[in-house]
Symmetry: D2
Subunit: 121 residues, 4 copies
């Protein structure tokens, strides 16, 4: 019966971040614009350790790089969840809808093995 009590991860994170900001009186800084900026900065910090790696090297990160990357992944998710909350966007629903749209843009039979953009297929 445990699952009945479990909150979905994205909802849990959203609520935890609401509490975190409220306790620090940080809602005043969390305009969508500020959050979108912070998200973009974190995404670049996540990209930074990969910038001189080959694709193959990026598949086998040294342990200390992996720890760093894991924390940057978390930072991006936290700002993303917070920004979506401030904009009243249901992240999970938006992501599911996007997968459906991508399926239409990149039909299996045309997209197989090609990284070209859908309009170039």
């Amino acid at each position: 019966m445990r699952a009945l009590l479990v909150t979905d991860s994205l909802i849990h994170l959203r609520d935890a971040l609401r509490e975190f900001a409220a306790a620090r009186d940080w809602d005043q800084f969390h305009s969508p614009r500020n959050l979108a900026t912070a998200l973009s900065v974190e995404a670049a910090e996540l990209l930074e350790p990969f910038q001189w790696l080959t694709d193959e090297q990026s598949r086998h990160l040294p342990p200390e790089t992996r720890v760093e990357v894991e924390q940057e992944l978390a930072d991006v998710l936290l700002y993303l969840v917070r920004l979506a909350d401030k904009l009243g966007v249901d992240l999970e629903q938006a992501a599911r809808a996007k997968i459906v749209r991508n399926g239409e843009k990149y039909p299996v039979e045309k997209a197989r093995g090609s990284s070209r953009k859908y309009d170039e297929l």
Copy 2:
């Protein structure tokens, strides 16, 4: 009893993206480096509609901008989930751990109402 059958959103998205890539033979393009690059590009596309707005304007987006932003939020989440999967990172656990660490870095009594970095408090 419904909850017993529900998959967590991040797990659901991870599995849907695995299927999506497998059906198109796209795993070959999904090196961590490529995905981190694509994530960063999407984060900038998410920032783009905010770049000339004031904080206040960013809180009240016109409907068509909001639709665009919702899709960019979804894109960022999809690449984030995919990248974490390729690196073997449990996104939810990483995000929860980061909130705990942030709580230690920004103690409520010192951080209240200040956007300064923790090491400047």
Copy 3:
């Protein structure tokens, strides 16, 4: 008569970076893709100190932030010059041509005092 001996700044930087890379055998790492990635990472580092500032605060940076920002500006320029060189692009000519195009896209009489995009004017 001194000016006769002066090299244009963008040319001077291009040549200095060529020498720098050659002396370190770094051309092998300077693929356009790597350089474009590094440039994007540096641009985000330049954005980072501004992310929680108001527009007004960004006009009056504290001295230590200004020093940091100056170095990030330099980093962006260096990668930009290097990337253009690797692609065989004449940066100055490209920038002049872009100003001309922008003048056509944003005619003075329509653009005055508006930050809206040209296609929304």
Copy 4:
């Protein structure tokens, strides 16, 4: 004697952008924060065409991609010059100083053929 009359490229661009903004009453939008955001967005647009390319492919861009990249390079330079101007930074001097500092951080004998960070040498 022609060189005596030539304005340095970075100074020329700075002045052209001053005129451009003044004619459109755009200085009000050109806060350092806004410009740093726009610069970062443009840097990601420059990265976008490279995101699924191998290093080798990025060295041989198709003609239409090269044209697109050239315009993005120009956009980055224009925002960079404008931001530096608004902050009162001498871009050329900052870039030259940075090359000197980089030469100290990455001494030829230790850096040759390695893309590792200087503190890991």
